[in-house]
């Protein structure tokens, strides 16, 4: 199962019923996740999103339904073998306090019986991947690291055996806003390189928009209210419920998903130039800071209130009124 690219995950009519509870926690959940796709499960606490995710590595056993990874029914596999092939990152990180950082990262390769040399090389590679210097951090203990550093180790540990699938349960939820933004940006970069199939649970819709390839908005019993790309959900929320999740400023959030490229018009402008790879929200900020006058784009052309409005389909000068 271990390979460089992600695997397909298929959940079919998966339900979880706890004994002594009248309502199922998850009811008839069906979803197909493509290889290399990052799917965000978003919903309020208690909606069953975490339960749904934990059934994929059988930390919670489904009551009924089937779950397949690359066509293989995981309920027929040995659960420990299964878990060694699924990266697992949780909010509380769960680093082992009595093991060094290197030992923590080496856990799954050790369980898989890799040779010592291979493990040592892999640990160094993983720490570098999450931007922690192995020569500095290998022999430290978790409590000697900051929260953000610990969460990076958590990600390195989950990736150490190169699993095709990763499950992430609010991994950045417990960090302060500045660290969270940094970790999110790093993670986005990382995922662009490694292309795992990732199921990512969060209650933070902003995070879902920022990181997800597709977002599943869930309500009680893990019912899928809408499952689509961030841009489509922002443009066309399927229901009141989804709209309430998006909250205020859907248009501004959509701008953050669009590139300057899509709103360049010809003409000249004065002011600080903006890169084509930036998002339109940043571009709009620049225009506003430029007293509403168009700003030039690096490599030719300019963006203006009008061109941004045209790209978005909404008159941005009326946003926020």
């Amino acid at each position: 199962m271990a390979n460089k690219t992600g695997a397909t995950i298929e959940l079919l009519n998966v339900s979880k019923v706890y004994p002594n509870q009248p309502e199922p926690a998850v009811e008839n959940f069906t979803m197909t996740i493509n290889p290399g796709e990052l799917v965000m499960l978003v919903g309020p606490s208690g909606c069953g999103k975490t339960t749904t995710m934990k059934m994929i590595n059988r930390i919670i056993e489904p009551s009924s339904g089937s779950i397949k990874i690359d066509g293989q029914d995981i309920l027929t596999l040995d659960q420990n073998q299964l878990r060694r092939n699924i990266g697992y990152v949780i909010q509380q990180i769960g680093l082992f306090p009595h093991m060094t950082i290197a030992e923590n990262v080496a856990v799954v390769p050790t369980l898989l019986g890799w040779s010592k040399d291979k493990i040592r090389a892999r640990v160094a590679e993983m720490l570098e991947l999450v931007e922690l210097d192995p020569s500095v951090f290998s022999n430290r203990y978790p409590k000697q690291l900051s929260g953000g550093q610990q969460q990076r180790v958590g990600v390195a540990r989950a990736l150490s055996a190169d699993p095709p699938v990763m499950l992430m349960d609010e991994p950045f939820g417990a960090t302060d806003p500045i660290t969270r933004e940094r970790l999110q940006a790093e993670f986005q970069q990382l995922q662009a390189n490694i292309g795992k199939t990732i199921v990512f649970v969060t209650h933070d819709f902003e995070e879902a928009i920022k990181l997800g390839d597709r977002i599943a908005v869930l309500s009680k019993r893990s019912k899928i209210e809408q499952f689509d790309t961030p841009a489509n959900i922002l443009a066309n929320p399927a229901s009141e419920y989804v709209a309430s999740f998006i909250g205020e400023g859907a248009a501004l959030k959509r701008l953050a998903l669009m590139r300057v490229d899509s709103a360049v018009e010809s003409g000249n402008a004065t002011g600080p130039a903006i890169s084509r790879d930036e998002n339109l929200r940043v571009a709009l900020d620049s225009v506003v800071l430029n007293a509403g006058r168009p700003v030039p784009v690096v490599g030719g052309g300019r963006v203006s209130i009008e061109s941004i409005s045209a790209a978005l389909g909404i008159d941005v000068s009326r946003l926020g009124q």
Binding site: I90, L95, L111
Partner: protein, 262 residues
């Protein structure tokens, strides 16, 4: 009832010693100095009294005292080890069982064992199984079971459940979770319980003499019955010094065995 038992577990276990302050602290040197001072003072007192009378001379001679000290240490250490061999696996099994009732019942029984006066336990056992060394050990074990049992259960229960979930989520088998994660993290608490049991054991071993199992209790009883305060005092001080020294050694072991990073 179950709630009570859980509270009991969480509030009244023996706390691991605080390692902050390092090796070179008053705590490290204080105990041996105290023991040397106490024993030195005792010897000074005994020699300053001049020639002991015939009854005192029976107890207050090196051969006899060393033999009794030897017996005493053997019986206390042996019981403490038996306690560890029984209570630690028992604590692990109890913390594995999902049933709160099991742990409430076992802890209840261990509580009874400790709450019953030790003299009562040892005499009841002697009436049933006869007098002698083995019976004395059995009584000491019953008496010392609780602290180790309770600390083993607490030591495992206090581990952050996220840590064990992460371990399971990475594909560790239940026994790997136990031996690689839970037990190493519970070691400080378990050892603290063992230390308590060891000190109990040294103190309570003085009553072994009532069922002819030797030890320093004999010296104390001779001093009491024959009204020889010097003999009584000698027995009591030596027992206290043994308890202090063993506790000190166990403390050193605790520090050495505590996992790094915790």
């Amino acid at each position: 009832m179950t709630v009570q038992a859980t509270e009991n577990v969480s509030t009244s276990y023996s706390q691991p010693s605080d390692r902050r302050g390092g090796f070179y602290t008053a705590k490290r040197f204080g105990t041996p100095l105290l023991v040397i001072a106490a024993l030195g003072g005792l010897l000074l007192f005994l020699y300053s009294r001049g020639e002991p009378d015939k009854i005192e001379a029976f107890a207050l001679n090196w051969d006899y005292m060393l033999a009794k000290i030897d017996e005493h240490i053997r019986i206390s250490l042996f019981s403490a080890i038996v306690v560890a061999l029984i209570a630690i696996p028992m604590g692990i099994v109890i913390s594995r069982s999902k049933s709160r009732i099991v742990s409430a019942v076992v802890l209840g029984l261990a509580n009874v064992g400790q709450a019953t006066p030790a003299v009562g336990v040892i005499i009841l056992l002697a009436l049933t199984f006869g007098i002698g060394w083995a019976t004395a050990v059995a009584a000491l074990v019953i008496y010392g079971l609780l602290p180790v049992l309770r600390n083993t259960i607490t030591g495992i229960a206090q581990i952050d459940p996220n840590i064990t979930e992460a371990a399971r989520g990475m594909g560790m088998r239940p026994l790997q979770v136990l031996f690689k994660i839970e037990l190493p993290l519970a070691v400080p608490v378990i050892l603290a319980g063992f230390r308590t049991a060891l000190v109990f054991s040294v103190g309570v071993a003085t009553i072994a003499t009532f069922i002819n199992a030797g030890g320093l209790g004999e010296v104390i009883v001779v001093g009491l019955k024959l009204t020889r305060p010097a003999v009584l005092l000698t027995g009591a001080i030596v027992v206290s010094c043994i308890a202090l020294l063993l506790d000190w050694l166990a403390g050193l072991a605790e520090d050495a065995l505590r996992p790094k990073g915790v």
